[in-house]
Each structure stands twice: as C-alpha cells, then as structure tokens.
C-alpha cells in the first residue's frame, strides 16, 4: 500500500533537490521565450523585472503564523515593537487554523486548574463568545482581527521565507516571497523570531539545531534511546463529517488504502464527526523534505479510513454520514529544534522544579508517538506519561545559543525529543510566543540583549513581572510590581462570601494555583450588585486600572470538531466572569471618572483615563454570566 519515496519523486519527474530551489532562481528559465530559435535558444535569461522587491525595516520580524507566532507578534506589538509578521498561508493559527483544525491542547489536560492564561486565553475567550456555531474560520478570524487591528503589526500573508543574511553572530535580514503578489520582501530587523515550527529561519541562519531522538547518554533521560537516531513523530491529517437525513454512500478512490477490523486494534473509531490524531505518518521519513509524499500518503489513509467506516459494515450507523471537510495540509508534530542556552529534558518535566528564568509552563503528558504511525497498525500509536502538575519552561530554551538576535517559540524550541513530546502542543506554544514577544520588547526597551536578561537578576525579575501583569501563564511568580498602586491601598467590600476576602485582589496571585486557598474576592450577587473599594490615605495619580476576572481555568476551552472534546466546555462567555460592571474614581468623595462596562467576557481587562489624583476607586459588580458570586482575582492601579 505504501508509496516508495523514490518512485513517488520519479513519478513527479523531479529529484528532492528541485523542491528546494530558491524561488528567485526558480524564476529563471532555460527555455527561450520565443521558440522560433536563434541565439536566444541556447542562452538562459532571468526575467528580473517580473517580481517587485520591497525593502522593509522593522524592530521584530516574526516568521510563522501559528499559535506561537500570533502570540509573539501580538505580545511584542502591544509592548511597543514595530513587527513584521510573515505567514506562508492566508490564515493564522497553524495547526489550529481552519486549514488543519487540530484543537488546541495544553495544561488543561492535567484536569486541575492550569488552563493557560494570557494572549491565548484572550483569543479563546473571544472565540467562544462570538462563535457558538463552532465555525473553524471564526477562530482564524479572531486572530486575524487582533493582529490586523494592531497598528504596530504589518501582516504579510502567503509569504514564504527563503533566505537569511547573517553577519557574524547576528541576522541582518531575511528574504521572503509572496506568490499572490509576486513580491519579494527584503526585511531588516533588530530581532528575528523563528515560529515556523520547522525551524526554517534558524536553519537558513546556520544556527545550531537538533533533530531526531537523543540517546540516554546525552541528557540522562530514562526514555532516551540506547543509540540516537534521526526519527521523529509523524504528521496527521484530519477530516470532518456531518449527519444527513438520508443515506450518503461513499466510493473510495483507487488510491485509498484498504483497512480491516484488525487495523484498529490500537486505534479507536469512537465517533466520526472529526478525524483521528492517529491518522499519522512520516516519522521514518524526512518530515520536512518528504512532505509532499507524506501528504499524499496521509490523504490515502484518510480516505481509506473513511472507506472502512462507511463500507466495512462494522459501522452501519454511519450510513447517513458524509465527509464535509478534509485537510490537505498535514499537522506537524516535530521537525527541527533550535538549540538554546538550555535544553529542556524529560527530567525537568517530571521533577517540576522551578527554573529561575521561568517564563511559561506546560502540562500536556509526555506523549511520544511511534514513528511508523499508520504504516504499522499492529503497534500502539503512542506512549503517554501523565504529569502530576505543570512544569516551568525557562527563557534559555527560547533564544538561540549561536545567533544573537534569534528567538524561537513553538515546537522548534530548545528541548530534547522526549521533552518535545509535551512542549509541542499548541497552548504551550502560544505561551512561549507571548514569552518571546515580551522578551524582545523588554530587551529593546531596556537597551539590552534578550540573552542578557537571564544573567541580570533584577532585569529578569522585572521581565517576569511584566509577563505576569500581562496575564502570561507562568508559575510561582507573585505580583511585586512597585508601580502597582493597588498594593498600597486598603480594601473593603460590600460583602465577602465563601472565604473570598476583599483584600485577596491584592494578594499577588491572579489565579487558582491549587494550593487549597482562595485568591479572589467573592461576593454573593443574590442580594443585588456588589462593590469593592480601594482607598489610599493620600491621593494617588492614576490613569489605568486593570482587572483579572475568573474564567474557569479549571475547564477546557478550545474549539474542536469532536463532540466529545466540546463536552463539559462552556461555549459563549464563561459563567464565572463578571459581565456588567462600573468603575468609579473619587477624590474626597467627588466622582472624577465613571467607566461603565457591559458584556465583558475577558479575563484580563484594562481601563485607562486621563491621569487624575484619586483617593478612592470603587468597583461595582452588576451582573455575572451566571455565577452566583461576583469574582475578581486581581485589581491593579497605575499612574
């Protein structure tokens, strides 16, 4: 059933090298434009005026528009960086986009309290609120909207990176090509982020990178191999189907693989509205450069599995079901991993000790997939080790050890193969994106290099405080922000329920951290609206008030085509969240500002106003999205 790679390429009439041709050179022609002959017949020429070259300059170039890239671009832009954001597709989200449709996995899998907060949470809360119809393109749209409306970001779709110019230990510029506009972008930047997943930018910059599965001896990992190899996890191709009111026959194409009952011993067909992660291939091939073959092989598996469901007779209930969508871009799990100042290992994941330079966390199991995938159905497709809790990820895994101005987020960070089996999932990738976007902005704003942050304890703490303030998913960091005037206020409330004391809004912890304690103000809404007040002995200059609400981080929140995955999620605003509220600022009991907010569904909300001297701020909770308590994790006040 399997295609042999060599014969596949032969059938295409090309060798593997032909796929790698630089697009600029690829435009040159060996054939004359005029076939009438003459001297031109034997001389090649380059039609150099067809493609327009755009010379661009920016603070931060982000390559790759998956979840990591989106969050890296947004984080940097929101912290003041000018960002050029290139994506080789016309959709954002990568594996989570409507083109691939993998649901976003992360630390929610721990079934504790650890759903990732930050930019990812903002995206997913927005999507859940505006997309009750579960339309995949709406998730693309949410990200597109957030990126496009940020004036600091220039988004270039359909733009593929193909060249990197490096001088010494720094990248000077990159070149990228847009097939839709016939433009070549020559982009100079201070910092470059490799969020390509494949580590393409790093590879083109000749940065150190890792590939394959490490030996035990390299990082002392119990799950390491006796001898290293170059094998990876495979790619997957998904599909969706819908139920109709009449039988929907299906005839498989001749190239579909054939399956029988025994092929599904280790792969369960539990429902058919959404495909299966185990439709996976390519681990034994070159996961990047054999991609064309792997895609076609996966297509043969998708149609083969659907043929089995429809026509084997073992799933007669599928009679009225028909394919409604199938992917054409495989979702990748593993390719290059760029080497940083630290390589995260299995031992770090299991021991779960805090890194001093922690900037994000993960919580997905150590979930390694066998490379043969659907080429050998007699084997279980994966081996999973559940984690006892979240593990921290250090900044040192997110910048290159060999190129000074190269940062990375996504599956291509500095981890071993075993550690990758947990860090690779998209919620983790998104938080890594936020970490590097913020790190670049912090470094530039502080006139230092990203790789100098770790060595400077004061700056490292400042950077972590910035991440925390911006709701990054980060472990064991308390709010110690000296600029936060709320920490100086005395706090009272109309009522306090269930142990949710008013002064917990400034206890420095902005979420449930599974320590058996509450970290939020709670007030019962049954007796009407509730208020909480911050008072200062002397007037404070304020221009910004920030709130962190409860959005049920103990639950999963992610769009999926699979009904089972959507179960126990809340589509729409999360019930714990305060929907309608007012913020009043007073000086000597005189109302200076009144901010009214309706239909909030976000966890982190900021309200700014003209700088004023204020000695009292009153927050009035008027309505929740269903919860009987008004719940606020944190209030911060800034000049």
């Amino acid at each position: 059933m399997k295609n042999n790679r060599r014969s596949f390429l032969r059938n295409l009439g090309i060798g593997s090298g032909a796929l790698l041709v630089n697009p600029v050179f690829g435009m040159s022609r060996d054939e004359p434009a005029d076939s009438s002959g003459g001297a031109a017949e034997h001389s090649a020429f380059i039609a150099s005026d067809v493609f327009v070259t755009r010379n661009l300059k920016t603070d931060f170039l982000v390559a790759g528009g998956g979840m990591a890239g989106v969050c890296a671009a947004l984080a940097a832009a929101r912290n003041g960086m000018k960002v050029i954001f290139i994506q080789n597709r016309s959709r954002l989200g990568g594996n989570a986009s409507s083109e691939i449709r993998m649901h976003i996995c992360g630390a929610s899998q721990l079934n504790q309290v650890w759903r990732e907060s930050g930019l990812l949470e903002e995206i997913l809360l927005t999507e859940a609120a505006i997309n009750p119809q579960r339309c995949w393109e709406m998730l693309d749209y949410v990200m597109y909207d957030k990126v496009l409306t940020n004036p600091n970001i220039t988004l270039l779709f359909d733009t593929s990176l193909y060249e990197v110019v490096r001088k010494g230990k720094r990248i000077e510029s990159i070149k990228a090509y847009c097939s839709q506009t016939e433009e070549i972008y020559d982009i100079k930047a201070q910092y470059f982020a490799d969020c390509t997943g494949d580590g393409t930018l790093a590879a083109l910059a000749a940065a150190d990178f890792m590939r394959g599965r490490e030996a035990k001896s390299e990082y002392n990992e119990p799950l390491g191999l006796d001898k290293r190899d170059d094998i990876t996890m495979g790619n997957s191709l998904l599909f969706q189907s819908t139920e109709h009111d009449r039988p929907m026959p299906f005839k498989a194409p001749s190239w579909a693989r054939k399956y029988q009952f025994e092929d599904f011993k280790h792969r369960k067909i539990h429902s058919w509205e959404y495909g299966y992660w185990w439709i996976e291939l390519g681990g034994l091939e070159n996961i990047v450069q054999d991609g064309q073959k792997i895609r076609h092989d996966l297509m043969a598996v998708v149609f083969g599995v659907w043929d089995y469901i429809k026509n084997s007779g073992n799933h007669p209930e599928s009679a009225n079901w028909a394919l409604s969508w199938h992917g054409a871009i495989p979702g990748k799990r593993e390719s290059r991993r760029i080497k940083g100042d630290y390589v995260l290992t299995q031992n770090d994941v299991l021991k779960q000790e805090n890194f001093e330079d922690r900037v994000a966390y993960g919580g997905w199991p150590l979930d390694d997939h066998l490379p043969a995938g659907m080429d050998d159905t007699s084997l279980s497709p994966f081996r999973s080790i559940g984690l006892k809790g979240p593990y921290s990820i250090p900044l040192r895994c997110l910048y290159s050890n060999s190129v000074d101005n190269l940062v990375m987020a996504g599956r291509n960070i500095s981890v071993t193969h075993v550690a990758l089996s947990t860090t690779r999932v998209m919620a983790t990738c998104a938080t890594l994106g936020q970490a590097i976007g913020t790190a670049v902005a912090f470094a530039v704003n502080n006139k230092m290099k990203v790789n100098q942050i770790v060595g400077n304890k004061e700056k490292l703490q400042e950077y972590q405080q910035l991440l925390l303030r911006q709701d990054q998913a980060i472990l064991n960091i308390k709010n110690l922000d000296k600029k936060d005037l709320a920490l100086l206020a005395s706090i009272t409330a109309s009522s306090e329920s269930d142990g949710g004391l008013a002064n917990l809004v400034t206890d420095g912890i902005n979420r449930d951290i599974a320590d058996g304690k509450l970290h939020q103000w709670r007030a019962a809404m049954s007796s009407g609206e509730q208020f909480l007040e911050l008072k200062w002995k002397s007037p404070q200059e304020l221009s910004l008030i920030e709130f962190t609400f409860d959005t049920g981080l103990n639950r999963h929140l992610r769009l999926s085509g699979e009904n089972g995955t959507m179960k126990n999620q809340v589509r729409g605003p999360q019930p714990e969240t305060i929907s309608d509220y007012e913020v009043e600022c007073y000086l000597k009991d005189r109302l200076l500002h009144k901010i009214e907010c309706k239909d909030n569904f976000l966890r982190k909300v900021a309200h700014s106003f003209n700088t004023s001297k204020v000695d009292r701020v009153r927050f009035v909770a008027k309505k929740t999205h269903g919860d009987k308590y008004a719940k606020v994790f944190e209030i911060r006040c800034y000049a």
Binding site: Q112, P222, L223, Q260, F261, E262, K265, S312, G313, N314, P316, L350, K351, L366, I385, G386, K388, G389
Partner: protein, 313 residues
C-alpha cells in the same frame, strides 16, 4: 530513577518455592537481577489445582525508606508471556503500612490492581517524586516527621505503603518480562505448550499460539482454530479465521457447521466470514435460508447471505 530505591533493600532472604506448585521437568529457572543488591531466582511451575503454568518466586526482604524498614514476604507469579499475574502472601505473614499498621483486604486488592497496571506513573517517576514536599505527617513509630504522598498520586499507591508498592511494582514489571520472553520460544517447544496456549482464555497466549502455528499444522488444528473464532477477545477470531485459509473458505463440508453458529460470532467477524465463503452447497443454502429469516440480521449481512444463496459456480 530506579537507583533511588534499589539501595533500599537491606537484606534478602531467599527461599525455594513450596506449597501447591509442581516443579517442571526439565526445570526452567531464570536468574533475575533486580538491582545491585537483589537477585532472585524465578522458576517455571505448574499450579496443581488449576494445572496452569506460571513463573514463580518467593521473595523475603525488607523494604526501607530513609527512616524505617518494613519486612515483606510474598510469592510472586508471572505468566508465560512475562506479564505479572498475581501475588500471594504466605500464611501467618502480613504486609505492613505506615507506622506498622497492617494491610487489610482492600489494601491487598488495591496492590494487585496497581501491580497489574503496566502504565502506572510508578514506571516513570522516582519514588521521591510521589512525596509532597510541602506537607508533613507525624509518625508515632518514629517519633518524627515524614512526608505524605502527593494527593495527585493518591490513587496509584496503597496509602502508607508507597515504598513497598513502588519496590514491588518495579520487581514484577521490570526486566523479568524480557527475560521470560527470551525463554518463551524454547520453553513453548520443549514443554509442548501449544494446547495449553490454545485452550487458555488469555488472548496473549492465543495470539502466540496462532503466530507459531505453521501452514502444515493448520488442518490438524482446525477444531482449535474454529473454537478460537469464538474467543472473547475482539481480534483473536480474525487471526484464527485468517489461519483457516482459502481451502477452508471454499469447502462447505468444513464450514457448514460453523455457519450454523454464525450469530454466535462477533458481528464484525460474521461479515468477514460471509464475505470469504465460496462454493456453498445445498446444505449451506439451507442453513443460510434459515439465517435469512432472522429479524436481528443487519442489512449488509442479509446482502452477503443473498449473494451466497445466489452463488453459482
């Protein structure tokens, strides 16, 4: 990771197996080096009551953490595939927990459940990782403070017996599995285990039997193969059907009896059977006519039956 508890064995008393087990001739014995301080002898035995074969060892040792040692005497049993099967505690002996409380039946049942779980977190975490570094509990026995098990791991150990459970899990699920598997081909032939495997209810045994069955043995093994079509496992019937082969599928004298029990086969195998058969004779058609009357028959089964009823050479 294993090193942390390996050194915890202070001493080891080893006894030969005794009781209701019959030694096997010729003797099959495996030296199982658990760690640097513990080596045990594992012997192939036959249970006199059930006639089932097991690998067995009697283990008598102390399992210690950094503060206290708990004595343990236990008989351990693995099946012939190297999978842990069960344990038994010799009469008069009892397992102890934190502060020398005794195991009760619920604790033993839980221990058995944990030892059978080859995917337990015990496989992957060092024993220290199960302890709550923030919490403490007081031991009367020691008059000292010790650390309790993390709540998140409370279901993967017997309360108060983490070190015992951890050590036993690694003994029964350690390299012994591979050592027993290494012997399997030889032992299977030497002791003529084919019938024992084929007639067992263990799907792993049945699968191994089918793997080892050569083409020239198929005809003689036909009654066994037909019986395996009714195995409780989902997949063994398919493997057995494949073994029966084309000659069987085309010979109504051989398959008609099976057809009579068609509905007793798993539905997914019924379809495979009906699709494979050819050359039905009159008796086949009588049986199928009878089956076609069944109201529980699925549409696709009916279609296949009609196809056979209309079969012409």
């Amino acid at each position: 990771m294993m090193n942390h508890w390996m050194i915890l064995f202070l001493f080891l008393l080893s006894f030969q197996s005794k009781g209701q087990q019959k030694p096997i001739v010729p003797e099959v014995s495996i030296e199982y080096r658990v760690n640097d301080t513990l080596e045990i002898q594992v012997n192939l035995i036959q249970d006199q009551k059930t006639s089932a074969y097991f690998y067995h060892t009697f283990l008598a040792t102390d399992i210690c953490n950094d503060k206290v040692c708990l004595p343990i005497q236990v008989e351990l049993f693995w099946n012939l595939m190297g999978e842990y099967d069960h344990f038994s505690v010799p009469q008069g002996q009892v397992f102890t927990k934190f502060d020398h409380q005794y195991f009760d039946q619920t604790d033993y049942d839980l221990l058995q459940e944990i030892l059978l779980d080859t995917l337990s977190p015990i496989r992957d975490y060092a024993v220290e990782e199960f302890l709550d570094k923030k919490e403490q509990k007081y031991s009367v026995q020691l008059d000292a403070i010790t650390r309790p098990t993390l709540k998140v791991f409370s279901n993967v150990t017997v309360p108060g017996a983490l070190y015992t459970v951890y050590a036993l899990w690694h003994i029964v699920n350690g390299n012994i599995k591979q050592l027993i598997r290494n012997q399997l081909d030889v032992v299977y032939k030497q002791h003529q285990f084919a019938d024992f495997f084929a007639t067992s209810n263990n799907a792993s045994y049945q699968e191994y039997y089918l793997e080892k069955l050569t083409g020239d043995q198929v005809v003689a093994a036909e009654p066994i193969l037909v019986r395996l079509l009714f195995s409780h496992d989902d997949y063994i019937p398919h493997y057995a059907w494949r073994k029966l082969g084309a000659a069987y599928y085309a010979d109504p004298e051989r398959y008609n009896n099976l057809l009579k029990d068609l509905e007793k086969l798993k539905p997914h195998l019924q379809l495979v059977v009906l699709r494979s058969l050819s050359r039905p004779n009159l008796r086949t058609k009588e049986i199928l006519m009878d089956k076609a009357q069944s109201k529980t028959l699925l549409q696709n089964q009916k279609e296949l039956i009609y196809k056979l009823l209309n079969y012409e050479k």
